[in-house]
């Protein structure tokens, strides 16, 4: 009987293992390279159109530059100038006012719409119809609403006068009503997107929870308040974050519908940033305002993440 060659087997085994490790390492390296290759277009786009411009905005915020020629380092002077500028402070207030109206308004209306559409026939048809404003150009939306909100012969005021015998304001040129009017347009335009997200959230709620509540004798309101809403809270959190970020960055409706007016009554942060750069050619001040807005949005978003532990339920 031949003696088994001790040690030969382990050597072979080790060798095989080593080969496997090498192969595995090669494969993982190859996979990683392929992975990088596949995400490269997106990564390059992110670098070129987001990260580098954001970084450059930070650099510009401490410079004095009129858009051409040399830049002069001025430290934090741009930030001091912006904080001392009444127009900047007004723009901040207008932005917060717009956010306060458009975000809660948009969430409530789109949630109600999603609840209404959750159990109806031809749901997908309604979904498409309500989603149409989202895929429509914001300039086109603005132009249509510009005429709808016309004080003299706009559709809205015509019906308010004829049906309710009211004396409605000239929405877009009234210092009091211009921000609420633009918020209304924003709510309408964003309704479809939020509604689709809420519908997806509603459809992800297991029916067993609802049935259990029904067996326990819970009313429709109780079912909604104690079961549906808590289970919808992650969706609500997502929609809130996205809506707040979008509302802080409102620009297109303002640019087309009011040009920041009347006076500066609808000048928001991003419109102020635009004006500082491309009207006044003070790119340093514009970048400083952009950096302030960046940190403001970051602070609000972090606060929301901190606060979500108290009201968002991830247990499905």
């Amino acid at each position: 009987m031949a003696m088994p060659v001790l040690g030969a087997a382990p050597t072979t085994e080790l060798s095989k293992q080593g080969k496997r490790t090498v192969l595995s390492s090669r494969r993982s390296r190859s996979d990683a390279l392929w992975g990088i290759f596949f995400i490269a277009p997106q990564l390059l786009g992110l670098l070129a159109f987001s990260l580098i411009p954001v970084g450059y905005a930070f650099v510009l915020s401490v410079m004095k530059w009129d858009g051409l020629g040399t830049r002069e380092f001025v430290g934090f002077a741009n930030f001091r100038t912006e904080f001392a500028d009444k127009e900047f402070r007004d723009a901040l207030v207008h932005t917060l006012y717009y956010t306060l109206i458009s975000v809660p308004g948009g969430i409530v209306v789109s949630l109600l719409l999603a609840l209404a559409l959750n159990n109806v026939r031809f749901k997908s048809v309604y979904r498409v119809i309500f989603f149409l404003p989202t895929i429509t150009s914001s300039v086109a939306v603005s132009m249509v609403w510009l005429w709808m909100l016309n004080g003299d012969f706009g559709l809205l005021n015509t019906y308010l006068r004829e049906w309710f015998n009211l004396d409605p304001p000239n929405w877009l040129v009234s210092s009091t009503w211009v921000i609420p009017a633009i918020s209304l347009v924003a709510i309408w335009a964003g309704l479809g997107f939020n509604m689709v997200i809420f519908l997806a959230g509603l459809q992800g709620i297991p029916q067993t929870y609802i049935e259990a509540a029904q067996i326990d004798g819970a009313s429709k309101w109780r079912q909604f308040w104690n079961v549906t809403l808590p289970l919808l809270s992650p969706t609500m959190f997502f929609v809130t974050i996205m809506s707040i970020i979008a509302s802080f960055q409102v620009f297109d409706f303002i640019y087309v519908m009011t040009g920041g007016g009347p006076g500066t009554q609808s000048t928001t942060m991003v419109f102020h940033i635009y004006e500082k750069a491309f009207v006044s050619f003070t790119f340093g001040l514009s970048a400083a305002a952009a950096v302030i807005l960046f940190f403001l949005i970051m602070a609000v978003t972090l606060f929301q993440f901190w606060g979500q532990r108290r009201w968002v339920h991830y247990d499905s």
Binding site: D66, L68, G69, L146, G261, G263, T264, V279, T282
Partner: protein
């Protein structure tokens, strides 16, 4: 220092550097044709790119002008790159930063100061006075140079054409309101003044129509009252009694709702639309309103200069102007200037502004282009207003961002009322501070 292009270097070489290098490279690539290629390519026309803003009609008109220029000679191929009016400045700035700006281009009065300061546009002082220029600075009408001419007398741009602001009035509306003598007739009789104007305004309002939409800037009312806005490089309207009086008069008319403030009209739904629809009697516009008004068969309108309050028949009013500049970094200065000077020459302006033109020539000698038009009846007033009018103030337009800042203070006054003297003082403080900071006094 700004880059200055000497007229001595113009048109004295048949092959420029870019053409020569390009020819050599292509010739080398062509192998056996190495000796033939440069000779062939030397005759190739040089491309000159140029840009302007404009609406659809204007762009079409300028495309035709470019085609006509290209057909008229074989040495230069002008390539027109129209840019939408919204965002024009942004695009030009970006192109200048990227080194891809056109060789010749339009500049608004607010942008040109920044371009001059950064040597982005060529100093044309010597070129304009040289033989290669088809028109000399003195050939241009009125006082339209504004920020294109620096305080030390150097030229960095030329008025492309101009638009003297006059009052357009709806004849049908005035007749229906019971106005028996049209404003042009009153003007001819030497009685067109603030009192007769307000009398017409009152009749229009009594007939239930809107009379006049007042813009944000009211400089024309100041100068038609004999007042001054700038002197010795400073904003002085707050100390000028005639200017203060004009401001108060405008505010009184806004308060009594005889005038409507344009800033109180919705964006894009301004006085043009009201005028076109027969709701507004007077609107202050240049000749650019003509193509639109011409299309409206039901609109019967005419023009009249601003009414005065000085006893004189006509006083200076503002003239809207854009400037035609040449890229200081152009690779083809000879050809770029050849197209440049043709564009603003008498024949160039005549061709651009003929048949449906929307402006008035900025150069003297081609007035017929306005006078031969069928509309409006009193087109001579465009030329009268141009000849006595004034372009943007160098101190103001030459200070980046100042016009916007002044507009905000004015808008606040016209929208919400307030003390006129306090508003004028605020305007003076803002203007003089920014002018001093820009070193533009």
């Amino acid at each position: 220092m700004s880059r200055r292009i000497s007229p001595a270097g113009m048109f004295n070489t048949s092959i420029n550097r870019r053409r020569l290098l390009g020819s050599a490279a292509l010739a080398a690539a062509a192998g056996s044709t190495v000796f033939k290629a440069p000779a062939v390519l030397a005759q190739d026309p040089v491309e000159v790119t140029w840009s302007s803003w404009g609406n659809t009609g204007e762009v079409e008109n300028l495309k035709n002008f470019t085609d006509s220029f290209n057909a008229s000679q074989s040495e230069i191929v002008a390539k027109y790159i129209p840019v939408p009016t919204d965002g024009y400045q942004d695009k030009i700035l970006t192109q200048l930063n990227g080194g891809t700006a056109p060789d010749d281009f339009y500049s608004g009065d607010a942008l040109i100061a920044t371009l001059i300061k950064n040597n982005a546009v060529a100093d044309l002082t010597d070129l304009l006075s040289s033989d290669v220029s088809k028109s000399k600075p003195e050939d241009f009408a009125g006082d339209l140079w504004g920020p294109a001419k620096t305080a030390d007398g150097r030229y960095f741009g030329v008025p492309v054409d101009c638009n003297p602001i006059v009052l357009w009035y709806n004849r049908t509306l005035l007749e229906e309101a019971g106005v028996t003598e049209m404003p042009a007739d009153t003007y001819e009789a030497g009685n067109w003044n603030w009192d007769t104007f307000i009398a017409v305004v009152d009749q229009v309002i009594a007939a239930g129509k809107k009379a006049f939409v007042s813009g944000t800037s009211v400089y024309s009312w100041i100068t038609n009252n004999g007042g001054s806005i700038y002197a010795d490089g400073k904003f002085i309207a707050n100390e000028d009694q005639k200017a203060i009086e004009a401001y108060q008069w405008v505010q009184d008319n806004l308060t009594s709702e005889k005038f409507i403030f344009s800033g109180g009209l919705p964006e894009g739904q301004g006085e043009d639309a009201m005028f076109m629809s027969g709701q507004l009697a007077f609107t202050a516009l240049g000749r650019w309103g003509l193509p639109l008004f011409r299309q409206n068969q039901s609109l019967d309108c005419d023009i009249v200069p601003y009414p005065t309050n000085t006893g004189n028949k006509i006083e200076p009013s503002s003239v809207a102007v854009a400037y035609w500049v040449m890229n200081a970094a152009t690779d083809t200065p000879d050809e770029s200037f050849a197209f440049y000077t043709h564009f603003v020459s008498p024949e160039g302006q005549e061709e651009r502004l003929n048949e449906g033109g929307n402006a008035v020539p900025s150069i003297k000698g081609v007035e017929e282009v306005v006078l031969s038009d069928t509309l409006p009846d009193h087109k001579q007033y465009f030329l009268d207003a141009r000849n006595v009018g004034y372009g943007p103030f160098r101190e103001e337009a030459g200070t980046p961002g100042l016009i916007t800042e002044l507009d905000k203070i004015n808008e606040e006054l016209w929208l919400n009322g307030g003390d006129v003297q306090a508003a004028l003082d605020a305007l003076a403080e803002k203007a003089n501070t920014m002018i001093a900071e820009a070193g533009n006094a």
